[in-house]
């Protein structure tokens, strides 16, 4: 397709100028990309297309000759996706090259109809395929962003709180699937080691349903903690949950469960040799006198 290469390179500036002008009419997003940068990108793409078209067929864009063009398009599509350009805006970057390119082809080959329609056909096929390359790259970039965000949400939504020396609390809000269980286990166990805590209270008030799978996940966490030398207490068991557990025949014989977090806390305190006593004299403030001195 030397013809196409020739046409593009001898009319490069003209094509680029019209291309940019056309884009400005529809979508330019000057808030996200500067004129200079856009100009630079158009220049690079046209140069890449010219050199590729000289050596490879316009329809074989997965071949080596088109690698430079493909990679360039993939990288700008990915970076535009991250910047916030929409799919349409990204595809338009490539597709709006059609009109200026076609008008130059028509002018140059006006005297030779068959050659002109060949060139037009090659040009449209090429640009369609290149547009698809950008769409694919845009989508992949968006998917990666979503995955990353999901991971962050997982990690943020399982905080481990220290209630007292050696006693941790882990309030779980939302469903407990196997992916979340992994995060919960890792988080909890690392905190157990870091704080040298023998007790972990897993509060499931915020877990909407407990079926056999969820129970399995909880049991895994409890067993893992036990293997390390820490004991888990489940708290926040609602009446409906208790009923479901019995109906499903879930075996929680080896697990200590409490309806309220406060009961679980009291149990952990007593198991670790502590007690809460009320002072005989009137406290200075409503709160300060409530707890006996910590025996450390």
């Amino acid at each position: 397709m030397d013809q196409l290469a020739e046409i593009i390179s001898s009319n490069e500036d003209k094509i680029r100028a019209e291309w940019i002008r056309d884009m400005a009419k529809t979508v330019q997003r000057s808030d996200l990309i500067s004129k200079v940068e856009l100009d630079e990108q158009c220049r690079t793409l046209l140069a890449a297309v010219v050199s590729a078209v000289k050596t490879s067929e316009p329809t074989e864009i997965s071949s080596d000759g088109w690698t430079e063009t493909r990679e360039f398009l993939q990288s700008i599509a990915a970076s535009r996706a991250r910047q916030g350009f929409s799919l349409v805006e990204v595809a338009t970057f490539v597709l709006s090259l059609k009109r200026p390119l076609f008008s130059v082809i028509q002018k140059t080959l006006a005297s030779d109809q068959p050659k002109m329609s060949d060139a037009l056909w090659a040009a449209t096929e090429l640009l369609d395929r290149l547009a698809l390359v950008t769409t694919e790259a845009h989508m992949t970039a968006k998917e990666e962003m979503i995955l990353r965000q999901q991971q962050e949400i997982l990690e943020l939504s399982t905080p481990v709180v220290k209630l007292w020396d050696g006693i941790l609390a882990l309030p779980i809000i939302g469903t407990l699937d196997s992916a979340r269980t992994q995060v919960v286990m890792e988080n909890l166990l690392q905190t157990v080691v870091a704080t040298n805590s023998k007790f972990a209270i897993i509060d499931i008030t915020g877990v909407p349903t407990v079926d056999t799978l969820v129970a399995q996940h909880l049991l895994k966490t409890i067993t893992a903690a036990r293997l390390m030398g820490a004991e888990c207490i489940i708290s926040g068991v609602r009446p409906q949950i208790a009923q479901t557990i019995v109906h499903l025949g879930i075996n929680l014989e080896d697990v200590i469960t409490k309806a309220k977090l406060s009961d679980a806390f009291a149990l952990a305190l007593s198991r670790s040799g502590r007690t809460v006593t009320r002072l005989a004299t009137a406290p200075v403030s409503p709160i300060s006198g409530l707890f006996a001195k910590r025996e450390e």
Partner: protein, 134 residues
């Protein structure tokens, strides 16, 4: 899907099992697996390498780095020319054992990885392939 790197190590004695574990650890670290994932891979290796040695009368392990789209993975293949496993389904059940001990190796290893496949027949040896993706 493509294989980016490949290496085979023998499993002829118990020292080879230790070396196999270390090699898998090395490759898993290079692939940037999390600590828990590394531990799972190395533990599965220990189970399956030991099986190949004790029940399979020795064999080898092949490590391969896989790449599929954006994700990368580590594939391990354990092969031996031993007596083979007559009843694979039974062998995969937890607690099944032909010798002394708890016999959790096979079924347990399956839970440590994403993909698990096993080919075995009486007198035909055994090949177990496991993959863990990052």
């Amino acid at each position: 899907m493509s294989v980016l790197k490949r290496e085979s190590v023998p499993l002829k004695n118990s020292n080879d099992v230790v070396l196999a574990r270390q090699k898998v650890r090395q490759w898993a670290v290079e692939l940037l697996f999390s600590l828990v994932d590394q531990t799972k891979l190395v533990t599965a290796t220990s189970e399956l390498a030991r099986n190949a040695l004790d029940h399979g009368k020795g064999g080898d392990m092949t490590l391969e780095v896989l790449k599929e789209g954006a994700k990368s993975g580590l594939r391990l293949t354990f092969e031996d020319n031993g007596p083979g496993i007559p009843d694979i389904e039974m062998a995969l059940k937890d607690g099944f054992t032909t010798g002394s001990g708890m016999g959790l190796g096979l079924g347990g290893s399956k839970r440590l990885v994403h993909d698990f496949s096993i080919e075995s027949g009486v007198g035909k040896g055994t090949r177990i392939t496991i993959v863990r993706w990052r």
